[in-house]
């Protein structure tokens, strides 16, 4: 079975550009997807749509790197295509072997020196951004947050403000004239995790017995999505992140509300009794009550959050009930145990939790 060699050659040449075209189209489509969303809601965590200085610096570096690598690609690609087309064996060729060239010192020197120069340029550009982000001087007005990674949820503490919350982070927008960045101290209670909200910063890992820091200064309000980016066990996939960037006033209001202990509502005292006399309080805390567990998320203001189970489900009464009775339905392998409450108790507890605004 012999195939026409001439036809093959053209095919092998044509496929390369086709692949590239597809990639370019894809990127355009992706860009299109991004611009389709509303300004305050950012559903696509696109690293090329930064809204904070660290993410921005990375974006600019990436454009520089992409330009250089793109040029290298074009040059070498063209040479390869040329070689493959120009020097293919043709049917009418003489039987002689081509000139047996062993090498060329000048050419080899040139194509060693030029890459070295390119590497030096790339290295210098990269080093500048590393130091700009990691060694940035810390301004006076920062919001300090301690993020503790757990299997499979995020604990957030604001020590200066006396706030403890989980999974959904609120930070203030930062005015470039008067920056108020948020500095995160990253810890872990168990295995390795990684905090990644692409539009606000590059990712940094949370490693047990190690303290990492990162910072972000969002330039606009809105909601930014992310998730854990270091495999941490069964439910790594559903350790989602939701960062709400508030205006200064909204952030103050949120912080004030979060500082308050839980409101006591007598109409749900039955549910509260169930909560405080079963295993719930072994893991969960509700400020101002007997519940002081720290293994699971703090529930004092859980109704101020859009989602439960670290983003795995919307925060609705039905989902809450399902999560308590049978967490495997929502997040199989999570460390929340099935509480096996009676229907009446379950109902009461959910009603109680619904008051924790």
């Amino acid at each position: 079975m012999s195939v026409n060699m001439r036809g093959m050659e053209w095919d092998s040449v044509a496929r390369r550009p086709a692949g590239i075209l597809l990639l370019v189209l894809g990127l355009l489509l992706a860009a299109g997807l991004c611009t389709a969303s509303t300004p305050s809601d950012n559903p696509v965590p696109n690293i090329f749509e930064p809204h904070s200085t660290p993410a921005d610096s990375i974006f600019h570096l990436s454009r520089f790197v992409l330009t250089i690598t793109g040029l290298i690609f074009l040059v070498v690609f063209t040479l390869l295509v040329y070689a493959v087309v120009k020097f293919r064996a043709r049917a009418g060729d003489s039987a002689h072997e081509p000139a047996q060239v062993y090498g060329s010192t000048q050419i080899e020197l040139a194509w060693t020196v030029i890459p070295i120069l390119i590497v030096v340029v790339l290295f210098l550009a990269t080093t500048r951004v590393i130091h700009a982000i990691q060694d940035a001087p810390k301004p006076a007005n920062v919001v300090e947050v301690i993020a503790i990674g757990h299997q499979f949820w995020w604990e957030f503490r604001y020590p200066a403000l006396g706030i403890v919350t989980a999974n959904e982070l609120h930070i203030p927008v930062s005015d470039p004239a008067n920056p108020t960045p948020t500095y995160l101290k990253l810890l872990s209670a168990d295995t390795d995790h990684s905090f990644w909200v692409p539009q606000l910063a590059g990712k940094t890992d949370l490693i047990p017995n190690r303290v990492n820091t990162m910072w972000m200064d969002p330039h606009r309000t809105g909601i930014f999505l992310g998730q854990c980016a270091q495999y941490c066990g069964t439910q790594h996939a559903k350790m989602l992140l939701r960062v709400t960037v508030d205006s200064r006033e909204d952030f103050e209001a949120w912080a004030d509300a979060q500082k308050q202990p839980a409101k006591i509502d007598e109409t749900v005292s039955a549910g509260r009794r169930v909560f405080e006399t079963t295993a719930c309080i072994n893991c969960h805390a509700v400020a101002g009550t007997a519940a002081t567990g720290r293994f699971g998320p703090d529930l004092t203001h859980m109704m101020s959050r859009r989602t439960i189970a670290s983003g795995a489900a919307e925060n609705t009464p039905e989902n809450l009930g399902m999560w308590i009775q049978d967490p495997e339905m929502i997040k199989p392998g999570s460390l929340m145990p099935a509480m096996k409450l009676s229907d009446a108790d379950l109902d009461a507890v959910v009603r109680y939790l619904e008051t924790l605004r």
Partner: protein
């Protein structure tokens, strides 16, 4: 199995019972048979690892898919990675080296034939132990069977506390044991290359494959050992109550990362350098010219070997090292791009001015050149640490390393199989099926791995069994999965070609490709003793000298 057919071909053993042939193969110390055993073993696991990949891709076709549970998915990606690296690529490279190096240097066998057999069976046992975990690994409380900790097995996820049961032990011991096999074969290859070259074959006259095998084996010696050490430490933690990686007792999770990647980075060069070797043998023959710049190719490979020991923490840019450490590893990572990139130019220079024949081996090697170029460039992107802080842990990285391992390494392996199958079996592979395999695989490869960069850039992390809809990842995942299915079909076609051609392929004589290195001077397949008389050589291309006595290479070297 082929063993019966080979037994039948040798006239004096016609009519032998198959048990005898099987016994011969199991007890063989002949480097050619062990090489074939390694390669067949690797292809078996290629299919198994491929099935694991297909399961992953089916699950990821839709968000919130539930084809498999998260527990099963996590086992799939762990087993897929571990299998492909330790039980596919490494054995196939050792297999080719085993088969070809003695022939290429004019020797009758490897330096230590019994060590050779022992090393193969250690590796084989390791693979079987890993897969036995599906049956035997169940621990307490239904703690799961096959390992599910990722192929890097980061601590403390692998500690008793977070990995109860025995699944993590299966990973550790299977890889540990096969690591001993790798060290054995590397020792054997180095001793063979240094001590058993035929007269006249100075180090500067060895085929590039021999040089690259030498460098790769040296890397195996110094990089598999750190993994072995770390795995012993892990076993001490899990079984003797040690605290090497016990963060509760002051231990360091980052220490495991350092030890693992001190192994892990040179490991990827161990995987790719033999692929370079295949390209360096195939491209000259099908361009009808010698390799352009042999000394620089050797120097560049040795450089890569050395520099590769200094780049490991570019896999750890996100763990919070300080800016100076990050800067150092950016420097070394960018530096290694130079000798690596140079090689592409040397292969280009080889084709330049030649008369390129696009037989199947060459098709795969040409695709390798384009794809390795792209892989190298995305590698440079990943080497720029701040850019890495966005790209690592995402599907961009998955796309990058599959571009290298599939697009560069596997393509060269396919090329090598089409090139040396005639020598090993005495039959030609079907050229039409070969071209079909090539084109189908190219289409599937690009559909999957070109597009896979995009979800990574849009924030999709790796090692997730499902994802949220509406993040812009959905459609890409569908097409990526379709490309995977196409690659699967192409691979099955390849296997079919191997089997079909074994029985029905046209007979191959000594030198079907008109090549120039010593393995083509003997019959296909070679006799058990390789050479009746040990040859003497005077240049890098002894068969060129013989075919062109009016213009031998020896005049110019």
């Amino acid at each position: 199995m082929s063993s019966d057919a080979i037994a039948i071909r040798v006239p004096e053993t016609a009519g032998r019972p198959w048990v005898e042939a099987l016994h011969d193969w199991i007890t063989t110390v002949d480097h050619k048979r062990l090489g074939i055993l390694y390669i067949l073993y690797a292809f078996l696991f290629l299919v198994i690892g491929g099935i694991e990949a297909i399961v992953i891709r089916i699950q990821l076709m839709r968000p919130h898919n539930d084809i498999v549970s998260p527990q099963v998915f996590n086992r799939m990606f762990t087993m897929h990675g571990t299998t492909m690296i330790f039980f596919v690529i490494m054995p196939v490279m050792f297999g080719f080296a085993n088969y070809l190096v003695p022939l290429m240097i004019g020797a009758r066998d490897m330096a230590f034939p019994r060590l050779n057999a022992f090393s193969f069976w250690l590796t084989a046992f390791g693979g079987m132990l890993l897969y036995f975990s599906f049956i035997g690994g169940s621990g307490l409380y239904g703690a799961g069977n096959a390992p599910d900790v990722g192929w890097w097995a980061y601590a403390p996820l692998t500690s008793r506390a977070f990995s109860p049961g025995h699944s993590a032990d299966y990973w550790t011991i299977a890889v540990l044991v096969s690591g001993f096999g790798s060290i054995g074969t590397a020792t054997n290859l180095i001793a063979t290359i240094l001590s058993m070259r035929c007269p006249g074959m100075t180090l500067g006259r060895m085929p590039l494959m021999a040089w690259m095998t030498l460098v790769m084996s040296g890397l195996v010696l110094i990089s598999i050992s750190p993994l072995t050490a770390a795995q012993i430490m892990l076993l001490v933690d899990r079984y003797l109550g040690g605290h090497f990686f016990d963060t509760q007792a002051g231990g360091s999770a980052a220490l495991w990362m350092h030890f693992f990647w001190i192994f892990g980075h040179p490991e990827v060069y161990i995987l790719v350098i033999p692929a370079f070797a295949f390209a360096s043998e195939i491209i000259p023959v099908f361009s009808r010219k010698p390799i352009f710049g042999y000394p620089v190719m050797v120097a560049a490979t040795v450089c890569i070997g050395f520099i590769s020991m200094s780049v490991w923490a570019h896999h750890m840019f996100t763990i919070g090292m300080d800016s100076n450490a990050n800067t150092f590893f950016v420097l070394t990572t960018m530096a290694i791009a130079v000798p690596t990139g140079i090689k592409i130019f040397n292969w280009l220079g080889t084709m330049w001015g030649g008369k390129i024949q696009f037989k199947t081996p060459m098709l795969f090697c040409v695709a390798f050149l384009f794809q390795f170029l792209i892989a190298g460039l995305t590698g440079i992107m990943l080497g720029a640490a701040p850019f890495n802080w966005q790209l690592s842990g995402s599907y961009f990285v998955v796309a990058h390393f599959h571009y290298v391992i599939v697009g560069a390494i596997l393509f060269c392996i396919f090329g090598a199989v089409y090139y040396w199958y005639p020598k090993m079996t005495g039959r030609m592979l079907n050229e039409g099926l070969g071209k079909l395999h090539f084109w189908l695989f190219v289409i599937g490869f690009h559909l999957t791995f070109d597009l896979m960069h995009i979800p990574g850039v849009l924030g999709m992390p790796r090692r997730i069994y499902t994802y949220e809809p509406g993040r812009g990842w959905d459609s890409w995942n569908v097409i990526i999965s379709i490309g995977a299915f196409i690659q699967g079909i192409a691979t099955l076609l390849f296997v079919a070609n191997l089997v079909f051609s074994y029985f029905k392929g046209p007979k191959a004589w000594n030198d079907p490709w008109d090549a120039w290195t010593l393995e083509w001077s003997v019959s296909s397949p070679p006799p058990a003793y390789n050479f009746a008389t040990i040859p003497t050589v005077a240049s890098r291309r002894p068969l060129w000298d013989r075919k062109h006595p009016e213009d031998p290479d020896s005049r110019y070297e």
